[in-house]
Amino acid sequence: MWELGSRLGFIPERVLAAPSTVAETFWALTASGELPANLLVSLARAAAGLAIALAVAVSLGLLAGLSRWGETVVDPLMQIKRTIPSLALTPLFIVWFGIGETPKIALIAVATTFPIYLNLFAGVRGIDVRLVEAARSFGLSGWSLVREVILPGALPSFFVGLRYALGVSVLVLVVAEQINAQAGLGHLINNARDFMRTDIIVVCLLVYALLGLSADALVRTLERRALAWRPSLVEQ
């Protein structure tokens, strides 16, 4: 339909490029190395932001989850910050960090911290206390209790958070890369917009979608490996 509409001239080229054009552009961009290079830049940004978020969220989640004291200190702050939409911080981050790489990575880090933190915290708190008690009766305490019982027990929730965070990271990437990007998918889209190249815009949109899907697939694979012990409700 889309193809037909484009061919017959119902859909002008500058509104939406024909699928065949999009495919050709995709191929041309890939062959020239422009798309892979920019994709790599975007991926590196997302990865850097996620790495920071993981470190911060796991530390805070464990701190708040494992002690009453930690909960009192950490959780209210996180809940307050959570209610501020991360993207609304963009202007502030530009003022603070300029228009280089830092605000982009910082935005991704801030936005992805919350889903990981919240789910890990819930996972730690939702652990079956009977299992903790049994482990204690067999002499586990302190760090060994955390490592053998609490962390594995919180892992399913953690993965839910991670999956959500990966989705969020792509979303924030799109916005962050509108900030004066010299490279990356956002840069590609911005250029295309200036030249009204809807074909390139569509290619980039498709790549964003693919990124989301592959992020999800990645976590699924991790989950299948790490949570092999879980009886699944639906047979695979």
Binding site: L131, R136, F138, P231
Partner: protein, 273 residues
């Protein structure tokens, strides 16, 4: 086997109180004197005296809320005891009613939980073979049947060579046939390893067929005590039935049968010899 003994609060208890144990020369594996455990206004355990000899198999009967589980948790070291005098062996192990296996660890790793030596795998394997699960070493706990889970929990307890084995209604959730098999298994393991055993149960028949001594707990005190001298394996013969009637009477299930034989009742919590 000599177990290291822990006196969790060493204060002077020089005067040996009268114990129901035949040979007072052997230091008891478990000793509680006038033990009290209170939750708010509610005294769950109220001045309880208990002594278990090394290698003795004691069953503890009592209605719900009689303090059975609280007593077991105290002996397991899971509840705070304050400054009261509680003597237990250093090596203790619990088998809970729900097996409480960690679902993310394979069966043998569950058995090896908390062990620190080098060849834990070999020890876990030996313990699992002993309970007849040598073929399920690498299975996930979620794939085990109820009986297999409890046998794993037993292996996990025994691999520690406990001086005191605490069994918290471990067979209550099993079907009748599996329960009988588990009874045999527990008796075999007990005669092999000779830990002191405290079995908490609702089941009077189970208590009589397994234990050397059956205690009835009521309102936080030991209300009755029955020494079972029948030879194992125990068939439900006339003597068995007589003990059963008496114990049920103490549990208030039937009209109390005429008192006879070795029953010692402690209506006020004091020993009446």
């Amino acid at each position: 086997m000599v177990q290291p003994r822990i006196r969790r609060r060493a204060f002077d208890t020089a005067a040996p109180s009268s114990t129901p144990i035949a040979s007072p020369a052997v230091a008891p594996a478990v000793k509680l004197t006038g033990f009290v455990r209170q939750f708010g206004e509610n005294r769950v355990i109220d001045g309880l005296d208990l002594s278990i000899a090394p290698g003795e198999f004691v069953a503890l009967l009592g209605a719900s809320g009689s303090g059975k589980t609280t007593l077991l948790r105290t002996l397991a070291g899971l509840d705070p005891i304050g400054d009261q005098d509680v003597t237990t062996p250093g090596a203790r192990a619990v088998v809970f009613q729900d097996a409480r296996l960690l679902p993310w660890k394979k069966v043998w790793r569950n058995v090896a939980l908390g062990l620190k030596d080098k060849d834990v795998r070999a020890r876990a394997e030996a313990a699992l073979k002993e309970v007849g699960l040598g073929h399920r070493l690498d299975a996930w706990p979620s794939t085990l049947s109820g009986g297999e889970s409890q046998r794993t929990a037993l292996a996990r307890a025994l691999v520690r060579e406990p001086g005191l084995l605490l069994l918290d209604e471990p067979f209550a959730a099993l079907d009748a046939l599996t329960r009988l098999k588990m009874h045999d298994l527990v008796l075999n393991l007990w005669s092999e390893h000779k830990p002191a055993v405290l079995l908490v149960t609702h089941d009077v028949d189970e208590a009589i067929s397994l234990a050397d001594r059956v205690l009835v707990l009521n309102k936080g005190k030991i209300a009755a005590e029955e020494h079972i001298t029948l030879e194992r394996p125990r068939a439900p013969d006339a003597r068995f039935q007589a003990i059963r009637r008496r114990l049920l009477g103490h549990l208030g299930v039937e009209a109390p049968a005429p008192h006879e034989g070795a029953l010692i009742a402690f209506p006020t919590g004091e020993a009446v010899q």
